[in-house]
Subunit: 508 residues, 3 copies
């Protein structure tokens, strides 16, 4: 959910849309300009060696094959820009399906319909009814955004759908009436349609700090529904959640290591409220397809959450169930490469954020259980917003402008390009300065030559007019007396004045 | 409570102060200017046909009578600007009374002392002690604002009083010591005097998004008082409010339709904490006097709240008691014409907001009951702020700048005027462009003529100087050689250069 | 904790660093400039009579002695700028110690290492283990800020340490495992190191309104820790805090007046979670060393808190324990001279804020006890922020820009200087206007004289050239025809044109 892509950005970015293959070309292209201007070859180049040795035939075939492979890969990895572009010319219902699928994946910050499709597969594996509710939620949230004429680019990126899918799913998950209670569709549709309104309102506030809204609309609306109805409601009763007044004794001997390891994919699955480890595994695959960095941080986050749970003496059941993981998954993805450009410092920051998120998760779960509420993804939202608001003097921690956020790999390229541009600008500046100096030297020479020429001309005139009347001498002295006055005018006028002088001299 | 009227705005607005009668005149006046400039008559005119046929005597008398009636009406409807203007020259205590009455009505966004008087009558009908506390609260809130030298225009509009009346009233309503417990006056006065401070602080934040503070100061201060003292306090005990752990069974047969219908005025009355349907009815009348649109939306909001209560399986008692209505009343008024210009889209938005507000009301009531707190008007504030923060591409949903907010009818006229101005500007722009083109054509012709004239002049000169000495020929070539040098000057200098050329030529 | 001193400010302020002695000099210096320009002596002067009568030898010795005393005093009172400057050249660990000590004192808004040392002495008197935890917290918070490359000036002022000391202290105070439970160091270090991150994030938000972050990071992090672990945690159990369901009967006969008076220093001590009255007394002394105004407002705030507790029927035990005082202490210091320049109006505002803070304290304590949380310093933060957001038309309530906040005495001098500058500017403006008029008159005279001179010159030229050839007459007419063209140039060029004219005239 990379904030607000304006349609403009999307068009600009379409130029180098196919990530891995095109990257080298884009890099080569952006490097061409400085290469033309700057004779020194750049020392640090991150492009693949595709275009480097066009003479050697052997490697070239390999490179071609690799390029073809990468290009093929680019069609369904990253944010699938080419596919999105192609979709724009299709039937409206197909487009809507694309947006819904992208919306489903945007929960994990992935703007990829294929990932969305796989995620829906995972949801179906978990529970048909939940998957249906999730689909309805995404669909109506997207439709509501269309009705309210929100930014078309943002809708097409699924940025208005991801809150809808979470609202739909979690309302089904926390409903105490069990599956296939069709009346639930009513509040589901109503609250899904409220999503774009709450998103838009929160964006008005968060945009002042260039922050995304994350899953805050989902958190607000689902908590609203659960607390408005509660466990004892006759129409829409909720699962009973009560504050813990006692914690079970923890004996390290009881620990089940295999279930502990299983809690990592379960933690990923719990982002969508799913406790099936296979579903979690499918979600991990769907992330890998779009962005390996996102996938790695998701797994890392889930592991950090598990460790935090153990450190804070949480009941093993909660850890196995992935409740300590899902917020950390999201926080780790958000900080680790999504909204910051991934460097080692940012990687450490992402781990710190995941630990903080786990702590916060425990705190918020305890507070919200007082009201019979689950903690939803509040901990993720609050910890990620805190870490995004951080200002630091470390230059290697670079927060991307919200309009430039796409997916970690592309963000990284953007960051590298920026760094390179800075270097080039620095070099350019130096070069400019040296050139400026040379120019000055040349100009002085020119001026001297000009002066000499003028003096020659004057001498010629003198010789020519030597035979004429004595009155003309006054005129000449006037011409000579001009320059000091002319110096006071602007540089543009100097040349012009020179010209007039010359004409005056001619006319004499 | 239309945010912050600066005194300046008030003076600007006084020009067309008397709403219904003056509207046609104001419209006619604003149309005069474009009519003078633009010969085409505007096709869409929304003014009444009063000034259209000044020849016909029959309808004119009718129109006069109608204008008189409307003018008379304007003296006590709308925001009673004329009365307010007249009040400025009166004795201070009378002014203060005017401000207090306006403050009482501003709870419903009505800036009208007559409505305020009627509202106080309704309060007295409900409970003498409550009315007294409300009056004291409004009075001291206004005095505190005067001491703190807040904006005089805002004070005169009652914008510092409405939180005071609610603080005073609700502290009396929730006090467990019963009526005529005089010690209550102490915290009442203290918290009323805190109102302008909290209002000012919140306005500093909300003004960044051009949002009003609504009844947030009241919510904060009353919740502060109730939770600071609580049910078990010895001096200021509060009514016991406890979270619901069980809901009564709902049997549709038990429903009392007459009480259900009665819940609509009761809901309006509950804005001031009154459960008497007659009081609610009086409040509805007071709204109608000032602004029929406000009145309609108040009733609509109350009805929406009642329906929401039924939909969410609320106990019938709560619905009859108006607890589901009062927040929706305020939310529906705020969105439906007060802060947005009323169009059909905005009307639908207001209904959506009322539903959302009812949902939110149930949620907040459940959460706050955990702390022994009533939900006050938090649901209204939060839902209305959310809907005011909404940004949409729909041009017919126009949020008024806070400084321009008055009352729905006038807001609507402002919006229409704006739309008309836009159209005129569009037309003007087109006209300007066509004129610009014509100008260009003319100028080119002028230039050509000039050139011809110059050439003639030159030819004349040539003829004249043909018989003179050969030295003059050099001079002539100079004149001819000038133009390229002159081209380097700006267009302004060209004319001037022409002049010098001519003088030079003359001096030859 | 005066917001964010940039290093620049600190360098600027170092010029007049030694408060009481140097103040007169600084004042004298700033007054010199206007004195030179303005012959009238300023009527209101707040400098000491040191420089007034340099002839009299008797008083001069006294003054010298007094100046010496004040200068000596300045070395360890105020913010000890000279010492801080000297520290910059010392060994890093010594510097770090300075920052840690300043951080300890910054809880009370005091930027003074000596106060910090005394405060640590008070903490040791209270409890060794708490003092150790406080020290570790401050140390790691400062180190974390260094790692995150936060503003060096802010770190050197202890602005990143004060949340750390509170986190460390209060985690030890609320731990249910008793003293010397070494595992507590782990969350202590983790949360202390989170302080600068949360501070930085909050500062990003609060800086939009030019507000400090106060102790919000501490509040957030300690509440986080307590609620995340809770009373029943196996590793880090917390002291059990439960909501009060009944209040003990209050009989005024039971009141212990001596303990009531003792509650004033205990209230000051409770800022650091200490209930020992001697520790509180030591804290009061440490405040007095740095800033008597701060000290006075601390005591006043604690007294107001006690009175509020009595007024709201709080159990006597809570009042004796200082729980009603510490928030008011901080609120009263913050408003009374620290962020507002101290005038009588501000003094009254500070008392109002202390009362409001006590009210708020009771409310927040009741709410947070539901979650087993102490109220920390939330009431202080919220009430002080509210009063700092207040906008008022009263000119004597002047909120200092955050970058200019130091300590009350210096803030006051800054305010006086500003007032004086305003007066001087006003006077200057008037003087400027009168001078401008005089200038105009003079210029007109000059122009007239110049014209006369030129005319004389021209007449001379005419007489000289009267005997020369008739061709020169053309030249003269050309010279005369120049002026109208020259008039079109800027005023600067006019003089230059005059010069050329003269040269032209000369060359003729």
């Amino acid at each position: 959910m990379p904030g607000t892509h304006s349609a403009k950005d999307i068009h600009q970015e379409i130029i180098c849309s196919t990530p891995p293959a095109c990257s080298s070309r884009a890099a080569a292209f952006t490097e061409l300009q400085p290469l033309m201007a700057n004779p020194d070859p750049p020392t640090e180049r991150d492009d693949s060696p595709v275009d480097k040795d066009p003479e050697q035939p052997g490697p070239r075939n390999q490179q071609r094959a690799r390029a073809c492979f990468l290009k093929g890969l680019s069609y369904f990895s990253g944010d699938m820009k080419v596919f999105g572009k192609w979709m724009e010319r299709q039937f409206f219902l197909l487009q809507l399906l694309d947006w819904v699928l992208r919306g489903a994946a945007q929960v994990m910050f992935v703007n990829n319909p294929l990932s969305g499709l796989i995620i829906f597969a995972g949801l179906i594996l978990q529970n048909y009814w939940w998957a249906l509710n999730g689909f309805v939620g995404t669909l109506f949230a997207t439709i509501s955004a269309l009705i309210l004429q929100q930014n078309r680019g943002a809708i097409a990126s699924g940025l208005y759908g991801y809150n809808g899918i979470l609202v739909g799913l979690l309302m089904a998950v926390f409903s105490d009436k069990g599956d296939w209670y069709w009346w639930l569709m009513l509040p589901n549709i109503f609250l899904s349609m409220m999503c774009p309104i709450v998103s838009s309102a929160l964006a008005s506030i968060n945009s002042r700090w260039d922050l995304p809204v994350f899953t805050l609309p989902f958190n607000i609306l689902v908590c609203l529904h659960i607390v408005a109805t509660g466990h004892y409601n006759h129409y829409f009763p909720q699962v009973l959640i009560q504050p813990r007044t006692e914690l079970p004794n923890i004996t390290w001997a009881d620990i089940d290591v295999s279930r502990l390891f299983m809690s990592v994919p379960v933690g990923v699955g719990q982002v969508y409220g799913c406790d099936n480890p296979w579903t979690g595994g499918i979600f991990i695959i769907s992330l890998f397809i779009s962005s390996p960095i996102t996938c790695a941080h998701a797994v890392l986050g889930s592991a950090v959450g598990m460790v935090s749970g153990l450190a804070l003496a949480a009941p093993f059941g909660d850890i196995y169930f992935g409740l300590w993981g899902y917020n950390c998954v999201l926080a780790c993805i958000a900080i680790g490469g999504m909204f910051y450009a991934l460097t080692w410092q940012v990687h450490l920051l992402a781990i710190a954020c995941a630990f903080f998120c786990a702590y916060l998760g425990s705190a918020i779960a305890n507070i919200m259980s007082t009201f019979g509420l689950p903690s939803c993804t509040w901990p993720f939202c609050l910890s990620a917003l805190t870490f995004l608001l951080l200002t630091t003097g470390i230059s290697r921690i670079y927060k991307l402008p919200l309009a430039k956020v796409t997916y970690p790999e592309k963000n990284l390229r953007y960051y590298w390009k920026l760094k390179k541009q800075e270097k080039i600008q620095m070099a350019d500046k130096e070069r400019m300065e040296s050139e400026e100096e040379q120019k000055h030297v040349k100009e002085e020479m020119m001026v001297n030559e000009k002066d000499q020429l003028r003096q020659k001309l004057e001498r010629l005139e003198e010789q020519r007019s030597a035979g004429e009347a004595s009155d003309d001498k006054d005129e000449e002295t006037r011409v000579k007396s001009h320059p000091p006055a002319v110096k006071l005018l602007g540089t543009e006028d100097v040349r012009h004045s020179d010209l007039t002088e010359v004409t005056v001299a001619d006319s004499v």
